[in-house]
């Protein structure tokens, strides 16, 4: 009887724990995203003897809709990437052409260290991955959960494993590690400078560091985030892509 109880306890405990990981991740993503959000940011790519800064505007609604517009420099301004459900489009003003992109793009986005996947599927890790808590770690003074995310079978993802560090107090993700299917670390993410944006405390700076090259990295700097202005669903449609401003 004791044994059965123990087994039951173990069973419940582990399932509770798993439940916990999902809710942590969901809470974290919901916190980051809000019901909808509009953000302005600059993206700086740094290479040993060269660097480049782009400015961009990002719209998000729910887990399925997102859109990013490049606002500078001039030669790239007007380029739009849009995701709505399974569809991902890229509008290129230089050739006035709409290009459909595959759901899981391995390449990096516009020469940065941000993968296309991370950008377009940002905030939808719960959709494609099964999380579990594997420990705790203190990151820049904050006690964090360490979540291991493994892709669900048949999920259209590029990573073999993702480790996320989520602040226990604020549910803000402060770090991440992205592994390929052979368990090699490809990219590391570090979030810092927690700042108030429209009533929420969020990292102002996100640094993406590819593991193969120590002198190269990309910094995303949030200039503003707006969680209140509503965005209509029609914004995230193919026909609107040329009018995104």
């Amino acid at each position: 009887m004791k044994r059965v109880l123990l087994l039951l306890l173990l069973f419940f405990h582990s399932s509770l724990f798993a439940q916990d990981a999902v809710s942590i991740l969901k809470k974290s993503e919901a916190y980051l995203r809000g019901a909808q959000s509009t953000a302005e940011m600059s993206i700086t790519t740094v290479r040993p003897s060269w660097e480049r800064t782009m400015t961009a505007k990002l719209w998000n609604k729910g887990t399925e809709m997102s859109c990013i517009l490049i606002t500078g420099p001039k030669r790239d301004a007007g380029t739009v990437f849009m995701k709505n459900g399974e569809d991902i489009w890229n509008f290129v003003p230089a050739i006035k052409k709409l290009i459909a992109l595959p759901a899981a793009l391995v390449q990096n986005w516009m020469g940065t260290d941000i993968s296309n996947d991370a950008l377009i599927n940002a905030g939808s890790l719960t959709v494609d991955y099964t999380p579990s808590v594997i420990g705790s770690k203190v990151i820049s003074g904050q006690d964090c959960w360490v979540l291991e995310l493994l892709p669900k079978p048949d999920a259209p993802v590029v990573w073999g494993k993702v480790i996320a560090f989520i602040d226990k107090a604020s549910y803000v993700q402060l770090g991440g590690e992205f592994y390929d299917e052979d368990n090699f670390l490809i990219t590391e993410m570090q979030a810092s400078e927690l700042t108030q944006f429209d009533g929420r405390k969020l990292p102002k700076i996100i640094k993406m560091i590819p593991s193969e090259d120590t002198e190269s990295y990309t910094i995303i700097r949030y200039e503003s985030v707006d969680f209140t202005t509503p965005i209509p669903d029609s914004f995230f449609t193919k026909s609107n892509i040329k009018n995104v401003k």
Binding site: T45, R52, D76, A94, K97, N108, M110, G111
Partner: protein
């Protein structure tokens, strides 16, 4: 004895002329054969390497191994003046070379994009010479010139717009839309299938590579040896740049030449066997004709060795004459086909174009070939003349006079 030999030659003009003619045609055949072989290569190297790629190129170190725009030369921070002013260097020609996916309608095709400044380019890229339609561009224009093959593939003509999708410097998006201003026929068949030429400044903008060039082609002064210029440049260049000769740039051309030359040598060897027997034939004929004469000469007291030397001298004079005449006569032929190459047609043309060669047969005018083959045939001639010597030495005067 020389006088005797000389007189003998003039005594029977017909026979002498036949011998001279035999030697002459042998020389002509051998030289023409080799001239075509060497000439085709010479022309190919000149056309493809000299006029399109240059005998020498300057790159950022490591570019040739990994041809990425990330390894292009920053012209604003790299000092290329010492290279430009080096002895034997006429000018440096900046080019930006990269790849792009071209779109037109629902067709797509990968293409080699070359940003050039036509005013300073090599002869092979002098647009007004290679255009078959349309016009050239200046550095400020925003039209492109596509190769004939691409225009055919996309079924486009002047004024149609091609869309470019590629990756620029450090992964920047490289998109562009350019109208076609001209269609050019490139002498290099491979380039003729996939080359797009655009103004250097436009290519630099599209590939986010302002003030950059992937390649600096070294235009050398006329008549200068590129290898010598290359050595000078290698000494003057900075550490960040590399100077490559065409043999390093295109080792596959050298290999192909070597294989082809080996084949050619086998062919020429076979030709020499045939030539040897032709010459031997004339010598045998000569000896047979003069059996009676030799017999009389020996029986009236001429020493066999003297007779043999005289005959040998005759032959040497005739063969040498034939070889010299042959070498001289073939010269105009060489010149004619150098400037009026044989145009191949039909299947032969297709087969050769597949190997990226121009389907034309040129000759070389290098005199070394004439000299080489003249000498070889002369030696063969002397060798077969020994038959006459051998015949004379074992001559039986009575029998030979009876015959």
């Amino acid at each position: 004895m020389l006088k005797l030999a000389w007189r003998n030659i003039w005594r029977n003009k017909g026979r002498s002329i036949i011998t001279i003619a035999a030697v002459m045609f042998c020389v002509i055949f051998a030289v023409v054969l080799r001239s075509f072989q060497v000439g085709v290569w010479e022309n190919m190297i000149h056309e493809i390497v000299g006029n399109n790629f240059g005998y020498l190129q300057v790159h950022q170190k490591g570019f040739w191994g990994d041809q990425s725009l990330d390894r292009s030369i920053d012209l604003s921070s790299t000092n290329v003046n010492p290279l430009e002013s080096a002895e034997g260097v006429d000018r440096l020609i900046p080019r930006l070379e990269s790849f792009s996916l071209l779109y037109h309608g629902s067709n797509t095709k990968g293409a080699l994009v070359m940003g050039i400044n036509p005013e300073t380019e090599l002869p092979g890229l002098q647009l007004h010479d290679i255009l078959i339609e349309g016009r050239s561009f200046s550095n400020n224009d925003s039209v492109i010139v596509v190769s004939e093959g691409l225009a055919t593939y996309f079924k486009v003509g002047l004024g149609d717009t091609l869309l470019f999708m590629g990756q620029g410097f450090h992964g920047a998006a490289a998109y562009g839309a350019f109208p076609i201003g001209g269609i050019a026929r490139m002498t290099n068949p491979e380039l003729n299938k996939q080359l797009v030429l655009m103004p250097l400044s436009k290519a630099q903008y599209m590939y986010n590579s302002e003030n950059r060039a992937t390649t600096l082609v070294v235009a050398i002064d006329d008549g200068t040896d590129y290898a010598a210029v290359g050595d000078i440049l290698k000494k003057t260049t900075s550490k960040s740049l590399e100077i490559l000769e065409w043999k390093e740039l295109f080792p596959e051309i050298i290999q192909t030449i070597e294989v082809d030359m080996a084949g050619g040598r086998i062919f020429v060897t076979i030709l020499y066997f045939i030539i040897s027997f032709v010459l031997l034939g004339t010598v045998i004929m000569m000896v047979a004709e003069r059996q009676r004469e030799f017999g009389i000469l020996v029986s009236i007291g001429m020493r066999r060795s003297t007779l043999a030397i005289v005959t040998m001298l005759e032959n040497i004079i005739l063969i040498m004459g034939g070889a010299i005449v042959g070498m001289a006569v073939v010269k105009p032929i060489q010149f004619y086909f150098k400037y009026n190459p044989i145009d191949l047609s039909g299947q032969m043309k297709e087969a050769i174009e597949q190997y990226n060669f121009e389907p034309k047969l040129y000759t070389t005018t290098s005199f070394i070939i004439n000299l080489n083959h003249g000498t070889i045939i002369f030696c063969i001639g002397v060798l077969v003349s020994l038959y006459a010597v051998w015949k004379i030495m074992k001559l039986n005067p009575i029998e030979s006079m009876r015959s």
